[in-house]
Amino acid sequence: MALNILIVDDSPVMRAFIRKTVGLTGLDVGEYCEAQDGEHALKLLRERWMDLVLTDINMPNMNGEELVRQLESDELLRTIPVIVVSTDSSESRVQQMLALGAKGYVTKPFLPEALRDEVEKILGVPHE
């Protein structure tokens, strides 16, 4: 079944980069959606079903930390796996985001394979 993927980042070129990288996975992607902050992401998630959320942390309006909190507090949305893609590589931040409910964490800069591996691990996609 094709998967819908939401990419949340305040940088349009980073959203494009992530989208291109997800395209390198063995995933059957139905639809890509993009949001520039947590607020926009929540709005989209309440309108249509997404199978995976890839989110930045540092964003205006609503950051990635608050987005993960909001998703966790929603009975339905909390079932969607979230992978954080952030420049913050501090161990305390990684642990904090995982404790909040994120399923994976990739630090920018990342090799395309690192993001691909994380996405495939979390969605259980076998390697070709």
């Binding site: 940088s11 070129v13 964003m59 420049t87 920018k108 800069p109 990342f110």
Partner: protein
């Protein structure tokens, strides 16, 4: 922390970011470029310590970097993409640097913004702790790191 080697931190971050996400690498050190057609992005970081990081590069270099980053031809870039890529380069360099400065604590980064011309204007309040220029394939990248003294 004892003596921080800011120059080493900057060059390590530049290499890591260019090689992993831009499929490019610095060809060597260069002189600071004082050409008129440059793009500069700056952002601030807050934590221990706080400061700013800015990157500056010529427009042709910005376009080449953007094309490499997005996997597109230079001709097919939109007008805003080179600037957006310069901002994201500043964001990633800053994240990589600050993570090394303070590896156990999280920090806040502001959103990078493109600055108007005259990019290397000095900030008398906070002299840079590191300013390095690198030769890229088609121009020069200058990275300036300023760290505020603890209040």
């Amino acid at each position: 922390m004892s003596e921080t080697n800011y120059d080493e931190l900057v060059s390590g971050a530049v290499e890591a970011v260019l090689e992993t996400m831009f499929f490019s690498s610095p060809l060597g050190p260069a002189e600071v470029e004082s050409s008129a057609s440059v793009m500069q992005a700056r952002l601030a970081f807050h934590g221990r310590p706080s400061g700013t990081l800015s990157v500056c590069l010529s427009e042709p270099s910005a376009r080449l970097l953007a094309a490499g980053f997005l996997g597109e031809d230079v001709e097919s870039l939109t007008d805003s993409q080179p600037g957006e890529v310069v901002c994201e380069l500043a964001n990633m360099l800053c994240g990589a640097l600050v993570s090394k400065l303070e590896s156990n604590k999280s920090f806040e980064l502001t959103s990078p913004e493109l600055l108007p011309q005259n990019p290397l204007a000095t900030d008398p309040e906070t002299p840079p702790v590191a300013r390095q220029s690198y030769e890229l394939e088609n121009g020069i990248l200058t990275v300036t790191l300023r760290v505020k003294a603890d209040a």
